[in-house]
Symmetry: C2
């Protein structure tokens, strides 16, 4: 088996850190306590371990390919997608009224991690479909919802997000695709979209493209962008498929990674105009798209955790098997498995602690999402929404950046074999690199954290989080263990670094925006580092208590060791980040443009 | 043009930091002052910019391939190698008596950077040939030197290093290839070698394999390994080529990067035995191989700098062209080239300052090599040799690890385009990953730094270097500029962190070897970071003085800005590394083996 889902760690995080049981107080989640979660996760693990994971390497070797406007996916993908859909996995988090299961995101996120560990390229199709469903749920008309959502949930159709154009990447103000109103209320869409994930493929009967375009006469910039449904095949009144729409895949990209996932160039309207239907109101497209994007950003953060977990498992397995050199501590007389060497342990612990820290962070964020959307109390919803929004750039930005470090170490543990493609470790390294780019680069996440989530409220949200950290530190202070003491020391330093950085950023006026944004990515990395560390601090205390109570001592001992490693090797990066942000802003933009 | 050699920065480093002019006091380098260096570098730049660099992307697209035991290199490689050889570039650093130019390594290293920036896959062939020449110069008989070296220098033949076997990677004690003495004084070699760079190719008439093997009855472990010359074609007494030797390439690897460089599996002796000739004495093979390896390790460090420079140039070019979003400082009204965005600047400055820092470090090390090998005074030779040996793991380990960071940022600057192979940025990311692995992984370099260069002398060498840093700090203290003050502050913190770490490591007894080695790679990264920063500190002072004297103000201003950025954004990592090394050793090995 090439992948074993970390069900136990997921359940520990859900129960002990994310408060899954308390979510059952929300009426619609009443049945989704830890036992249900366990049953769902175990079922999910089976599908991913047995069916989807074995296709991962195959997808890298035999990627999707384009021929005459059609895209053919890796052998086995179509059948696996059928099994995935028939198992009801696409509808996991979506409303029962449309055929979904209505599970909390807290459980859904763990399932999302599994499918992405199993096969990131494959998982992108459901991930994008989730986004399309969310957008239609939020902004679609009753008719649109009834027409599209059930088919998206049952896997007959899949969804795409069409934002990027050659001149409009991070900057959607530059979108030029145009929509011409038709007498029947529909629109004709004309333009080119690039980087469209699963923009064309052979795994479903139809593809529902959600497309950003400008209606003629709309305002310039992002305030003139509308959102349209453009189905690949037109949908008849009875739900059956009609004519082929004028939306065609003219090529797919040749990428460094996630090769099995087709990245399409879509041409709309080259043969008279693609028929599109306005979603919601004109010129509010970006707002709707942000709903999709926030869901997708969280999902991409989970992809980072997922690929890190898979890389970790592979590295552990190799480190146990590969015999090379004598251990420096003399514990083995001859050559030993390399897992006995301290630096291999350091690499594995770095991989493990980063992955577990980000998993904890993401599941805590998912629980906030669930409360924000479904809690009966409005104030609770509001608070959770604010916390969730603060967490999204951290989950996306930090988890994906850490996945680059983890997959690099994964190759490194393998030595020369890691560089050989047949080994498989290199694939994770190549696959992971897209994660810091799509759905908003790390810099875009950092802009969000600095702009909307620090400058706008003068750093209040960060300080509220810091107060919670201080409370955790106070709890740690009541404990006598060396692990708790080490964690407390490093968490306090991390918190102080974070607050100092937030204050520096919040203190910049309009005249010094460059200084505020010069450290945006280090600030994001600092915030992610400290918030993930905070969750491991909480985990450490739970584990100490469980251990004292004699519960699952191997797991709890491992959790304590992992948390302590994070404190001593990862949280210790905080001071350097603070120094760069607070004292190094000017040197970022000092070099004259023509001196580069 | 896709690559422009940084001749000016190279000359600045040679002259102002590496003391090239003082090397001219050494008789054989009397003619190789800065003017000669400039002439050589400009000539070298032409060949690499015009001929070799354009083949880099082609090599990735159309790699070397194997057919029926033969390896065919990328179209254009053979012709380019001919030009390279005819230009005398293979012999640059080798003795004139064998047809070389006898230039100092200080100049050779800069030329090495250029060819590796131009085309790392191509450059590996000369790099390995250099290693073979060095080994034969050191340990070969007069006859062997006369037979092989001139042909290796004139490019008729190339050289390889055959160390690795499937079960023997970092651990050469496990080498099993055997050598059977023959009545005529030769040996028959039997065994399988893997990961042999340019182990088979079509660019030269013959290939001189240098092969580690065990003579029957030799001691176990590394003390029973001997070094043999195994030519692909036998060499007749008149120097012409004779029969094909029984050394055959049975396959080449399918790798993540450096695809144009064939990585061969070589089978020795499957048809009766490959004829080999002992180099030097029996059982001293590892000692000779280390000569080659030290040269090759330095060369691989330079490869890191080289690929970083190329990635930097590409990223700058894209950042100047790509228009996207309004600058946060309002300096441009509409969408602007992304080089106007602070985070893009941060990425470019990180790339630039790491590259320049490592370049300075490597050229200073190269000058120490030159003095160590050729200075008339024995004590000077000894001191320089000790310093050079201390620097080799830093140049290799730190420059290659930084190249992963730089090439990652190179992709990141390109956004989504970076992930598309046609853009070319992804190739550097894939290519660079081998550098932290071959010629001794980063952990092997770190073991060398901890074991031979810190534990053995109780940290004396590190403290001697620290004393030199303190002297640089004292010089910085006499200056009034903010840049000098920032550098002094961070360099002092870096030095203190380095000394504390060295003391911690040197203080570990036999009972705590795990603790000494747990932080080996962080210690290597810390040492490299601080020593490269030290060179930039020296550069900063020179640049301030030149600027005051009105000399080349754009270059000097840029050097100051780059050095200051390094101080504030890279040297600031030192404290966290110290904390992990000194206070985090136990947590590295705390997790039970069966809990991974």
């Amino acid at each position: 088996m090439t992948y074993r889902a970390p069900v136990k760690d997921m359940l520990f995080n859900m129960k002990e850190l994310a408060g899954l049981e308390s979510l059952t107080a929300i009426p619609q989640f009443a049945d989704y306590g830890i036992d249900t979660a366990q049953a769902v996760l175990e079922e999910c693990a089976k599908l991913n371990e047995d069916v989807i994971a074995p296709l991962n390497f195959e997808g890298d070797k035999n990627p999707s390919y384009w021929k005459d406007g059609q895209v053919f996916t890796t052998p086995g993908f179509k059948q696996a997608f059928k099994q995935f859909a028939e198992g009801g996995w696409q509808g996991l988090q979506h409303p029962p009224e449309f055929g979904g299961q209505g599970l909390p995101k807290t459980i859904g996120a763990a399932c999302g991690e599994m499918i992405n560990s199993a096969n990131m390229s494959f998982a992108l199709c459901p991930l994008l479909t989730d986004g399309a469903i969310e957008a239609l749920l939020t902004a679609g008309s009753d008719e649109q919802r009834a027409t599209y959502i059930p088919k998206l949930i049952d896997g007959s159709w899949t969804g795409t997000m069409n934002l990027t154009e050659p001149q409009a990447g991070s900057d959607l103000a530059l979108v030029r695709t145009r929509a011409e109103p038709q007498p029947d209320g529909s629109y004709k869409i004309f333009g080119t979209k690039i980087f469209i994930t699963y923009g064309e493929h052979d795994m479903s009967e139809n593809i529902v493209h959600l497309v950003l375009a400008r209606v003629q006469g709309a305002p310039e910039g992002v305030k003139g962008i509308s959102l349209f449904i453009v189905p690949k095949f037109m949908v008849n009144a009875d739900g059956s498929l009609g004519a082929r729409n004028d939306a065609h895949c003219v090529s797919i990209e040749h990428k460094m990674g996630i090769k099995a996932s087709p990245t399409a160039v879509l041409q709309f309207g080259d043969h008279g105009g693609a028929i599109g239907y306005l979603v919601g109101q004109e010129n509010r497209g970006l707002e709707y798209m942000f709903i999709m994007m926030n869901a997708a950003r969280f999902g991409v953060g989970v992809q980072g955790i997922a690929v890190a977990e898979r890389a970790y498992q592979k590295a552990v397995s190799y480190a146990r098997d590969r015999v090379q050199s004598r251990p420096v501590d003399g514990s083995v007389a001859g050559s030993a498995a390399i897992i006995h060497h301290p630096d291999v342990r350091r690499m594995l612990m770095t991989m493990r602690s980063l992955t577990e820290g980000c998993r904890a962070m993401s599941l805590v964020a998912a629980a906030a999402y669930d409360a924000a959307h479904h809690h009966p109390d409005a104030e609770t919803r509001k608070q959770n929404q604010a916390f969730y929004e603060f967490m999204v750039p951290l989950v996306k930005g930090y988890s994906t950046e850490m996945s680059l470090e983890v997959t690099d170490l994964g190759v490194q543990v393998h030595g020369g074999m890691g560089f050989i493609e047949e080994t498989g470790a290199a694939q994770y390294y190549r696959d992971a690199k897209i994660l810091t780019i799509y759905e908003g680069t790390t810099a875009i996440q950092a802009n969000d954290l600095v702009g909307r989530k620090t400058l706008r409220d003068g750093g209040q949200m960060v300080k509220a989080v810091a107060a919670q950290l201080a409370a955790t530190e106070a709890e740690l202070a009541t404990r006598s263990s060396a692990a708790a003491a080490a964690m407390r020391k490093r968490l306090a330093q991390g918190r102080e670094a974070l607050v100092a950085s937030a204050e520096f950023i919040a203190g910049q006026g309009k005249a010094s925006m460059n200084a505020a944004f010069a450290g945006s990515v280090p600030y994001l990395m600092l915030a992610g580092n400290v918030v993930a560390g905070w969750q491991l601090a909480r985990a450490l205390m739970v584990a100490e208590d469980k251990l004292a109570a004699g519960e699952d001592s191997a797991f709890m001992t491992a959790k304590i060791a992992t948390a302590r490693f994070y404190a001593e090797h990862i949280l210790t990066r905080a001071g350097g980040l603070r120094d760069a942000i607070v004292e190094g802003a000017d040197s970022v933009t000092a070099l004259a443009l023509d001196s580069f």
